[in-house]
Structures are given as structure tokens and as C-alpha cells.
Point group: C2
Chain length 372, copies 2
DNA sequence: CGTGTTGGTTCATCTGCTGATCTAACGGCT
DNA sequence: AGCCGTTAGATCAGCAGATGAACCAACACG
């Protein structure tokens, strides 16, 4: 139904914002004739609209913009105390959100999602035929082509075909992705990483998740294991990690690692409180946050040296964005990236609770709509 | 002249070895009719030949193989005491090799290459129309799309349009690539990494070079700086590096770093001699090689955690492949990769002197022929 | 020597892209 | 106001490449 060229047009506009037909011709490498037909077709389908005109030398060019209400995507995050659901439109805006109780029985999870998605779409007043698909964000190893959760410690799953199950329960095209990958895909399609050809996102929460976009596409790795920097050795011979090794980044910079170190020093385990203590001059708090920030900063510097991304996005589930942890992180990156490179933009944002579900919606958008 | 589908057929056969038309249909996603026409066309052009027949249930299938003598590629490495040149055929075999004196004046370098390439092709008896192009392997930062050497400390170049210059001097399509990238491209097309979707090559010589193939394509990074793991910080606060930082992998594991450490301990700077000393039980030698191998092993383990490649190829310019350095390297990788992953194959090979030029020829093959 | 099976070819047809040409919509100039 | 240069976009006949269906080819097996 949608040809490859159609998807490319939509993707380009999503990346760059509204573009005129002539600008699209330059990016796409097709003829004016084809572009004219493509645009007419996409407008007839309601996916594009003519936005503002740009006045220049001759006839003004008319920018074509995505029509946000022309397609919707459902996202579901299978992690946390409740599984978060959301509906996002083609512009990436969340139009509805909800949640279902967490569970570890695949069948009942799929059924609960099926019911709740039905309610959500109904309540949102969205024409069901406009819902292009649902994305699932799964903590663990995932075979995204087959839609199977290969292994998830958190869910206790092994080779669970959750994709087909949720597909049957919802009647929607279903796409399964690892949670860190879903996050970066969502940001790449709808967020701060929009349109970047090479970028990396790192989420600091209970664990440390990481996903890479390379050459404009998600890099999953040979066996889906890319982005496991949580278990990269940063401090050889350091603290033992639950993975069996020692000195993993996870034991140094994750939220629980900081909380543990704080509690052992008799300080509050809460990230924000710890930062406040550091701000008051508490030496132990300063040391703890410094160590953690430096560890993540070093890991990020190594990523930059290895991959030279355009943008690295760090999302913090806890703590202030301008606290000691974040400051030390930035300094350490700065100090450990080769001078003369240093082109990589480093952003630190807050990781809000629904970000995972929005990422999952982005997965659906990418696979069902933008063909990625 | 060659359509995209043609190049894809050639690429697939290069990756997987001879394939029948029916097998190609499966990989390519085109119809039998198109495949038949494609194969006929490529055979008429002399690029494919019918190789062995495979007998099965019904009519035997006929494998189509590349005709090595149907295309040739020139490679030139702009590094070392003399700039190495070679001619490789479509099978990746070197049919002729030569060299020109090293130099730092771009004009005379281009002219010397032009003359020598003419002689080489003449002497090799290759029809000039079958030479698809020349690749240049340049140590330094390269804009490969424009064919410009942006910056090379070794050559003392800044924004040198060496691509157009050599193109004019040779009359061949010219492609410029960073040396580490050329190396991995060559191995990906013709060597141990043939056909891999995700792999990394690390060359240990005067410096440490690294290139990544991701999703089947070279990843150059946002500003062409990918693979600079030589200046990733492995030992924070370690020895000062010429890049201005401290504790870079380059100061720990490169050939000169090992040689320096050895000389300071009153040991021979030669890698092989040092390994022999270690084998005889010399503690200082053992420590030096151990430190170096462990540093590179740690860096490789971090690459594996971050990228989950199918294959990592380490090429050593000096020293034995089964010496202490290599053994410690393997052990350290093993110990610092998360258990349960461990799918990445690690190979250690010798980096012979002409490997750089062969890599450059691979660049030409990839860009001129296989469209990569 | 017929039959089933799989590999590969042929051909009428069709789809989607293209270059050339035309119309539209402006700014600026007289 | 009217004309002209300029750029954006639409139209249309023609064409290259892909396709499905039917066909031929080459084997194993009985």
C-alpha cells in the first residue's frame, strides 16, 4: 500500500520539519514529476498537508507538513510497578495514556494489554483504522524480527512470543524491542535525537541502558546484545556485579549503586537528598556522587572515542540535572575525549516515567510507518 | 551502466561464495524472471561464470561465481617508508604490487602514483578498461565523500584534495579513506570479515587503529572520528599521551609503547625478542607484555559490550600471534565480557606490510563495484 | 521410459519513474 | 497596471525494469 518512496518522504519530513516538494526532490533524488505525484497521493491519504508558503524569487514554495492525526501508535512498556501504555500521534505527541497491573504471565499480560488498548483507543476517539501498530518495550534480550522475548530476568521470561500474543489480543501490528533500544528509537523519531545519523542514548535508572543509532539505523548487535555498557568493566577489580564480573559500570553509576554507597556511609539513599548533602559540603556525599559521575563520564568518553556520535543523550531517572553527578559526568567526558574531536553534543535530560512507553510507541511508528 | 540490482548480486556472491539463481532470488527478493535476466546480463559482461552444478531432487542448480579477472582495483597506502601500491582482482587476490618513495608534497605524490600505477597495470597485462578504480589509504582524518584529506599529522597535510589529484594523475575513479577504515573495508570485502553484518578490526602497529562495520556498512562517525580507540582512556591518570590526555590505550598497548617500556627496563625493544625473554621467565618482560595485552583486552571487551559485534579481528604488526601479549589479550577479553554474551569471535592475525594497500584496493572495490 | 521435482527461461503485461513541456504565482521593473 | 524574469509545481506521453504465468530443461527414481 505505502511504497518505499512514500515512507522516505514521511521520514524526511519527520526528521527535518516541513519541506517543499522541491526541497524533497533534492533530498530524495527523484524527479519533480514523481515528487508531485507522491505528494498528491500522500495528501489525498491525509498524511500530508500544505503548511506555510515560503516567498522567495519566483513562485512561492509550499512546505508540506505531517498531519499528526493521520496515524496513531500505541506503546507499552513491560517494566515497572505498572505496565505503562500510551497512544502517540504521527507528530510524537501523546494523546492518551494509561497503565495495566504488572505481571509475569505472558498470556494474561497480553490480554490485559489487549483490553486496555481497546479502552484507550475508544476513549481517545481515534478511528481504529488509523492506529498503525503497537510497540512493546521489553527489559531483556529480544529477537525483534520474530517478536520474541528471548530472555528477561526481570519478567522471568524465556523465548516468549509476546509479539504474536499481543498482536492477537489487540488486532494490531505488533513490534517488540529491547527497552533501551525502544527508548533511543523513540527519541530518534520524536525526541531530542530526531534525524541524527549517529547518536547514542544512555538511560540511568535501576540499571544503565544504552542504545545506538548508527548510519541512521538502530544497531542491535550480532545477537541483540549491543548497548550493554552496564556490564562494561570500568574499574578493573572493583566491586562484584550480579553479572559475575567485577567493576561493571552498573556497580558504579546506576541509581541503586549510588543508593547503596550512600546508605553504607549513613547518608540518604535518595539521589536528590544526596545531592543536597553534597551541596552542603558533606564530603562522603561528594565522594560518592563524584565516583559515580566520573565512572559514567569515562564510559561515555570511551563511547565517543569509539563511535564519534553526533549526539549523546543521557536520561536520568533520579536526581537533579545540574547536580554534582551530572557536573562531574560532563567534566569527565570533557577530560577524556581527545582534544580536537569534541564535536559530540552531550545532553542530560530527565527520564520521566512514561518515556519508556513513548519509546515503545516510537518503535511502532518506525516499523509500521517510517520503515525503519 | 551497472544498476543497483547488479551490484547487489555481485555483493551477495562475494559475501557468500557461489550461489545459484534460485538462491539469489531468496536473498534478493526479486522475481525469478528478473534474476534470470540479471544473471544473463552479468555473464555476458564477463563478471559471472557458471561454476559447479549442485545435484538434488530435480534439475541441478548451477552456482554462479565471480570471474576474478573481470575487474581490477588499485590500492595505495600513503604511509610508511615507501608508499605501497597493489593491484587486486575481483576475488581479492593481489596480482601485482609495487611501491613509490614516500613524500609529503601532494602534487608529487599524486604524480608518482600516477606513473607507477601506469607501469603496474602495463606490466600486469591488465586491460585498462577493466580497472574499476583506485583506493587511497590515508593516515589521518579524511572526508571520504569529497576525497579530501582533512588533516594528517603523519603527512603534514591539511585539507588536501588528494582524491581529485590522484584521479587526474591516474585517470581512474579515486576513493579516499582513512587507513584503519580501509583496512576493515578490505577485510570485510576480501578477508576474514567477509560478509559480516557487524564487526570490528583493530590494527596494532605504531599506533592502534580501529574500524567498525555496522549493519554491513562502514561506520565513519559524525566527523569521521569513529574508531579512535587509541585515545580512549583505559588507565585514568596513566602515562601522558601525545594527544594531551593521560592513560590512552595508545600509551599502553601500541608497539612503540611496549618498546619504550622494554627499553626502560633494559630489555630489547623488539616485540619478538621481548616475548622470547618473557618465555624464558624474565619477570620484567612478562609484566610489560601482560600490562599491554591486558590494556588492549580491556578495550576490546568494552567494544564487545557496547557493540556486540559478530567478529573482532586484531592484526598485530609485530610479535608472535601466540605470544604472551596475545594470550593475555584473549584472557582479558574473556574475563571482562559479560557471561552469557560471549558470542563474539576474536581472531588475531599478523598485519603484513602490504595489508594497508590491499585494504585500499578493497575500498576501490567496495565503492566502484559493490556499491558500498 | 514415464513421472515427479526443482531450476531456469520466455513473454506479454504492468507499474512507476522520467524528461519535456506547460501552467501558476510571485517580485521587481518600467 | 502591465510585462518579464524566476522559481514552484502539474501534466503527459514514453520508457526501463520488474513481474506472474506459462513453459522448457535436467536430473532422480522406479
Amino acid at each position: 500500500m505505502l511504497t518505499d518512496a512514500h515512507a522516505t518522504v514521511l521520514r524526511l519530513i519527520n526528521q527535518s520539519g516541513p519541506l517543499s516538494r522541491t526541497e524533497l526532490v533534492g533530498h530524495l533524488g527523484v524527479s519533480k514529476a514523481s515528487m508531485s505525484a507522491l505528494a498528491a497521493d500522500l495528501m489525498e491519504r491525509g498524511m500530508l498537508t500544505e503548511a506555510e508558503a515560503v516567498y522567495g524569487g519566483g513562485r512561492p514554495s509550499i512546505r508540506l507538513a505531517l498531519q499528526p492525526s493521520s496515524a496513531f501508535f500505541v506503546g507499552a512498556s513491560l517494566a515497572g510497578e505498572r505496565f505503562q501504555l500510551c497512544v502517540a500521534d504521527l507528530g510524537g505527541d501523546v494523546t492518551a495514556a494509561s497503565s495495566v497491573p504488572a505481571g509475569d504471565d505472558p498470556r494474561s499480560v497480553a490480554e490485559a494489554i489487549g483490553r486496555e488498548v481497546g479502552r484507550l483507543i475508544e476513549a481517545d476517539g481515534v478511528d481504529r483504522s488509523r492506529v498503525a501498530g503497537i510497540g512493546l518495550s521489553v527489559p531483556g534480550l529480544v529477537d525483534s524480527a520474530a517478536g520474541v522475548c528471548v530472555r528477561s530476568t526481570l519478567l522471568g521470561w524465556r523465548d516468549v512470543p509476546i509479539g504474536t500474543m499481543v498482536g492477537a489480543a489487540t488486532g494490531l501490528a505488533t513490534f517488540v524491542e529491547n527497552d533501551a533500544n525502544a527508548l533511543v528509537l523513540g527519541q530518534h523519531l520524536f525526541g531530542a535525537l530526531r534525524g541524527s545519523r549517529a547518536c547514542t542514548m544512555i538511560a540511568v535508572a535501576d540499571g544503565i541502558g544504552c542504545g545506538h543509532i548508527i548510519n541512521g539505523e538502530l544497531h542491535r548487535g550480532h545477537r541483540g546484545g549491543a548497548g550493554e555498557i552496564a556490564h562494561a568493566t570500568i574499574a578493573p577489580g572493583g566491586l562484584p556485579c550480579k553479572c559475575g564480573k567485577r567493576g561493571c559500570l552498573d556497580t558504579l553509576a546506576s541509581t541503586p549503586a549510588v543508593a547503596n554507597a550512600a546508605r553504607e556511609a549513613g547518608l540518604p539513599g535518595d539521589f536528590t537528598a544526596l545531592d543536597a548533602a553534597a551541596a552542603r559540603g558533606d564530603q562522603a556525599a561528594i565522594t560518592i556522587l563524584h565516583h559515580a559521575g566520573a565512572a559514567l563520564g569515562l564510559a561515555i568518553a570511551q563511547q565517543i572515542q569509539s563511535l564519534d556520535p553526533e549526539h549523546i543523550l543521557v536520561a536520568l531517572a533520579d536526581g537533579p540535572l545540574d547536580g554534582l553527578y551530572a557536573r562531574v559526568l560532563r567534566q569527565t567526558v570533557e577530560a577524556n575525549v581527545m582534544p580536537g574531536g569534541g564535536q559530540t553534543q552531550l545532553s542530560i535530560i530527565a527520564l520521566d516515567a512514561d518515556a519508556w512507553a513513548v519509546g515503545a510507541a516510537g518503535v511502532a511508528a518506525g516499523r509500521a510507518f517510517f520503515r525503519r
